[in-house]
């Protein structure tokens, strides 16, 4: 019986606003080659492969066709998860736990810069009958949610702006990040109104890049590396896709996914046990809302925790030291991939200028973006 699954190798291209010098294939090959070299394994030895991708972001009707070559998966058991990297990670975890696979490689990437009108594409996810005919910006869904969240938790737009300030500053220490900057709350509040209370700088801009990770069962992992990063907990959840039936204040999908992951990891007191977290901040308020859903802050207290400095780089529970989506860039299906990458580098002690001292347990959480209510959580450790 397989008891544990660890991450034994990871590779990335880093993230840039545009990547005109490489095709998606060349970009992904770079990340895959680095991951396999990192793991000390050749793709021919790997048991299974997963790509996390959605058709229309790639610009293909069947994006799955184009996944094998650049990850070395020709004639290998390979699948696409049209979901976040962390959902693909969960699939890889389950594959190994069946006992039928010793190793699985997981790839996710973003070439969002190749989509001419990304807002319109996001709007294509709306219910075609009830919502889409209004031709509203997809960010309006986040605007609706932000209003309700602020109302229920007595949080202000200025407090949400502080998330942007923190994360863009964090990104300055991260060589992978595309959108690091020193800015103030005033800059955020003065940026263009998109769907109030959301301003332009409250919204994570998209970026390109690829990440590949290699998973292995416990025995194989220890044979391949001295420091596997273990998957301790996983959770994923989908709340109602019907916007009209949604609970607009609470991120229930994140709460339920976290409960599942905490149970699996045996974590009773998350705020005490988790050393650091990379959580979804695709919109500024989302970091705060998710902190509460993850029980890293009590309801209504996330903004106070932020203002106290507890979630900053040197705080008690650093959140998004990588810079998050606001600082690194929004990566769509690769959002979770970037977060897992950050956890692995931190837990290995390889995070350079942004290394948090003495960390053993990290949490990564993603949300699939508007208009979805789907999210996933992964808890990793180096022990």
């Amino acid at each position: 019986m397989v008891k544990r699954v660890g991450i034994v190798g990871i590779g990335t291209t880093g993230f840039r606003p545009i990547t005109p010098d490489v095709s998606y294939r060349e970009m992904i090959f770079e990340a895959a080659r680095k991951a396999y070299t990192d793991a000390g394994i050749e793709p021919s030895e790997i048991g299974g492969f997963i790509t996390a991708a959605e058709d229309f972001l790639e610009g293909y009707s069947i994006a799955d066709e184009y996944c094998p070559d650049q990850i070395g998966a020709v004639l290998k058991p390979t699948q696409t998860i049209p979901g976040d990297f962390i959902q693909a990670l969960a699939t890889g975890y389950m594959m190994i736990m069946t006992g039928a696979f010793k190793t699985v490689a997981i790839e996710a990437h973003s070439k969002a810069s190749n989509v001419k009108n990304i807002d319109e594409l996001m709007g294509f996810a709306f219910d075609p009958v009830y919502n889409r005919p209004l031709r509203e910006t997809p960010h309006a869904i986040a605007g609706l949610e932000m209003t309700r969240y602020m109302f229920e938790t007595c949080t202000s737009a200025e407090q949400c702006a502080k998330v942007v300030v923190k994360n863009k500053a964090n990104a300055m220490r991260n060589p992978y990040a595309a959108f690091g900057a020193e800015i103030s709350e005033r800059d955020v509040m003065n940026s263009e109104a998109i769907s109030l209370p959301l301003h332009r700088l409250d919204i994570a801009p998209h970026a390109d890049g690829a990440v590949v990770a290699v998973l292995a069962d416990g025995e194989t992992a220890l044979a391949l590396t001295d420091m596997p990063i273990w998957i301790e907990g996983l959770g994923w959840c989908t709340d109602t896709p019907t916007l009209e039936m949604r609970d607009w204040g609470e991120a229930a999908y994140a709460r339920i996914a976290a409960e599942m992951a905490y149970k699996m990891a045996g974590i009773a007191n998350p705020a005490g046990m988790i050393d650091f977290a990379e959580i979804c901040d695709e919109y500024s308020y989302k970091e705060l809302q998710h902190m509460e859903a993850l029980k890293l802050a009590r309801p209504g207290e996330a903004a106070h925790l932020l203002e106290s400095g507890a979630t900053s780089f040197a705080g008690d529970i650093p959140i998004n030291v990588s810079g998050g989506a606001l600082g690194v860039g929004h990566l769509f299906e690769a959002s979770g991939a970037h977060k897992i990458l950050e956890l692995v580098e931190q837990l290995r002690g390889e995070a350079g200028a942004r290394q948090i001292p003495d960390v053993n347990i990290g949490l990564a959480q993603v949300w699939r973006g508007v208009p979805t209510a789907t999210g996933a959580v992964a808890i990793l450790s180096n022990m």
Binding site: T19, P20, D21, V22, S23, Y24, R25, E26, M27, F29, A32, R33, Y36, E42, P43, S44, F56, G59, P68, D69, Q70, G72, V74, K111, S113, N114, V115, K116, N117, E120, L121, F124, P128, V129, R132, P133
Partner: protein, 185 residues
């Protein structure tokens, strides 16, 4: 369980139900536009097509000369090593005589059928084919194994695209017609 005794879902509609507005519907034309980065390999491939040449990439480990070119060998999983021009001639691996357009509309009675084919390009590793069209040949005369040569657009009309090759035409006179049953296309 027995499917025959189950009440199955699925309410069939006729296309006339849409035309006569018997059911409510809503329409949408998505604006899904892209500008895909060519990258190194396809960028060069297109640039060479504009010059009237076909270029491939070589892997020194498996010694394959690969078409379309790629910067990595998907089998050896290493970078490919060098560029190599290949011929603009080849062999028909397989073909079809198409009377249907891409959107399933039928070609008009006066429109000639389209003749898509997989063409194994001379100079590339055996089996390395590309999809392209056949032309200047009667549909009944096309055969698998037929030698063909690219017919290029005029240099000034080329844009750096696969369509800089108009089609491939037979190099020699077509082989005599086969009389096998079902051969009429």
């Amino acid at each position: 369980m027995d499917l025959d005794t189950c009440e199955l879902g699925g309410t069939p509609l006729k296309s006339s139900d849409f035309e006569k507005c018997k059911v409510l519907t809503t329409e949408w034309k998505p604006n899904l536009g892209y500008a895909w980065d060519n990258g190194v390999a396809i960028g060069r491939y297109l640039a060479e097509l504009k010059e009237g040449r076909i270029i491939a990439r070589v892997c020194h480990e498996c010694h394959r000369i690969m078409l379309p070119p790629r910067m990595f060998c998907e089998l050896c999983f290493r970078p490919t090593d060098e560029w190599a021009y290949v011929e603009d001639t080849g062999v028909v691996n397989t073909f079809s005589i198409a009377r249907v357009n891409w959107d399933a509309s039928r070609r008009g009675p006066k429109e000639p059928p389209l003749m898509p084919a997989v063409i194994e390009i001379d100079g590339a590793t055996k089996g390395m084919g590309i999809m392209h069209m056949l032309g200047e040949v009667d549909p009944d005369d096309v055969t698998i194994g037929m030698k063909v040569r690219a017919v290029w657009k005029k240099p000034e009309d080329r844009t750096g695209a696969i369509t800089d090759i108009l089609y491939f035409k037979p190099i020699r006179a077509a082989a005599p017609k086969k009389a096998a049953a079902g051969r009429k296309r």
